[in-house]
Amino acid sequence: MYEQTKTAHHGPAKGLMRWILTTNHKDIGTMYLVFSLMMFFIGGTMAFVIRAELFQPGLQLVRPEFFNQMTTMHGLIMVFGAVMPAFVGLANWQVPLMIGAPDMALPRLNNWSFWILPFAFLMLLSTLFMDGGAPNFGWTFYAPLSTTYAPPSVTFFIFAIHMMGISSIMGAINIIVTIFNMRTSGMDLMQMPMFVWTWLITAFLLIAVMPVLAAVVTMMLMDIHFGTSFFNAAGGGDPVLFQHVFWFFAHPEVYIMVLPAFGVVSQIIPAFSRKPLFGYASMVYATASIAILSFVVWAHHMFTVGLPLGGELFFMYSTMLIAIPTGVKVFNWISTMFKGSMTFETPMLFAIAFIVLFTIGGLSGLMLAIAPADFQYQDTYFVVAHFHYVLVPGSVFGIFAAVYYWLPKWCGNMYKESMGKLHFWLSIIGVNLTFFPMHFVGLAGMPRRIPDYALQFADFNMVTSIGAFLFGATQLLFVYNVIHTVRSGKKAPQKPWEGAEGLEWTVPSPAPYHTFTTPPAASEK
């Protein structure tokens, strides 16, 4: 204890080595967030290529092979490089601050789990310059497209996935151990902030399914290089098995990408409604039930592979069941706002947009869950519209909301509210312009992952592309606002939001390099 007090006031080391050697949760959180922002722009550039090619029917800009590489890499980078690291970054910054812990429980592991990522993505991106090109089999990498017919770079893709998986697993272990062991005295599990709860559940999902992803890519590796036949029918394997194992991972994965956003929104809505969160306990149970149900719905991605009738019915009903806990959450957020004394700063705007637009994505998800109807929607732009509605105005808006909400605490300066609002309004227009028309072209039968399309889809595709360019350009405003805030923003008070609650607002702004070296009282909030 004495040793700790003596060294508690040293600042961060100087220079580059600070970032390479750091074990500080705030430094690592910042690195995760900056990394994910860079990946967001790289993945966004790929989306730009896709939308530019689809601006008009016919092949104008890129060859179909390259188009396939773009759709694949866009998906992989956005899922594993942008959304997941951003939430791990938020967890690194906020979980210790919100539970009154001095740091994460396993700081060296924390450093390692971040520093694996740049190498994993460097390896993944380097495939773009290899003979035969980058992976081109879609982010779902179905066998045998990703085994028998894959470009040679698939091996690099497999090892990149392994490294990302190791990074996520270590991050998740760290978060669980921190939450279980380092809460300040007097903070029971059922008193934890919702963001901490959703991350605890997300972390359990991560350690449960990332190893399954590792297993499936290992099987691919063995099929490609060691002569096994896990997914090769000629050797006694089964390509459909790949889809089962993959979606056993990937369905929980989609909740990994959205549960922390639920947590963010559950922090922000009460703060700007100046009311405590409605139905805290039901929120916790709803999150847990969504997580548990996510393990028994995977085959709703595979309704058209030839499942027996019983299978179709089971996966249809179990999928629809998820609407119940999700509905509980949505109504809890609305009830929190009901008769609240609301103000509409940028984080609140993003949080409200999250509720509305995520619900639209949830409803199209319910439509897709109807097995007989799904035969019509399968592999069309309707699916693309659905999952972009839950991922962009869902996860990504959740991340924006969190950054605007906590940025004053992180850097000690207040962002420009007017520019934040402009970012919000242009984003919401861009998002809807981009993804709403996709519903229509999808229902009319436009297939996904195709660089050309029938003339009847031309108008809606042009609207979509214009929306996408607007949305992409708008994000430069966000970058400018964040950089401007960090470098020369107005000083922020310790608690910039009147209605905000939680331990993170009991430390000064910016949060000192070391916080809570002595545990705070849980009731202090």
Partner: protein, 180 residues
């Protein structure tokens, strides 16, 4: 031990990770067993091991069997059943053959993968001898009649009057598949 493996400790969490990695691989045999037990996927079992009585009861039902020959990857080889449709009584032992012609001017190895539709019939179709049990070596431009001996047992569900046995032929030359 109990303390060591609680889910809030790193060791406990790492053991969950290891377990789930193993579980990922376990899904392969689980899937196979699941398909066998439920008869889904139309997978037929291996060589018939039971007693061959070759006795057909007089009032046995007659069913129609259709044979389909597919070529994987649009192989240029010719591959076709000798007889496309046959009628047989339940319990009756039938012999037929599939003809394959290797149109390449080099030796190849082929493997046929069977599938039965409707899937519910898969467990009632028994193969006593089948070319799909072995890899088939074919010399350059060689043609070959590959034999199939099978019967359908009497417990075939009553609503099935017609079933399809399809074979997909794959070129596995030089792939050196590890036996699973």
């Amino acid at each position: 031990m109990k303390l060591f493996l609680k889910p809030s400790s790193p060791a406990g969490l790492i053991s969950i990770v290891v377990l789930m990695f193993v579980f990922g691989f376990m899904l392969v045999p689980l899937y196979t067993v699941f398909c066998e037990v439920t008869g889904l996927n139309g997978k037929t079992s291996g060589q018939y091991q039971g007693e061959l009585t070759n006795e057909v009861s007089d009032n046995a039902r007659t069913v129609t069997v259709q044979f389909i020959a597919n070529r994987n990857d649009n192989l240029p080889w010719q591959f076709s059943p000798k007889q496309e449709v046959m009628e047989l009584m339940l319990g009756e032992r039938k012999v037929t053959s599939f003809r394959v012609v290797n149109t390449y001017d080099k030796a190849v190895v082929a493997q046929a993968i069977p599938s039965v539709s409707p899937a519910a019939a898969a467990s009632h179709l028994h193969k006593i001898e089948c070319f799909c049990f072995q890899q088939q070596a074919l010399g350059a431009s060689e043609s070959k009649d590959m034999e199939l001996i099978f019967f359908i047992d009497a417990s075939l569900p009553g609503d099935i009057t017609k079933l399809t046995l399809s074979y997909t032929l794959s070129d596995i030359t030089g792939t050196d598949l590890v036996d699973m």
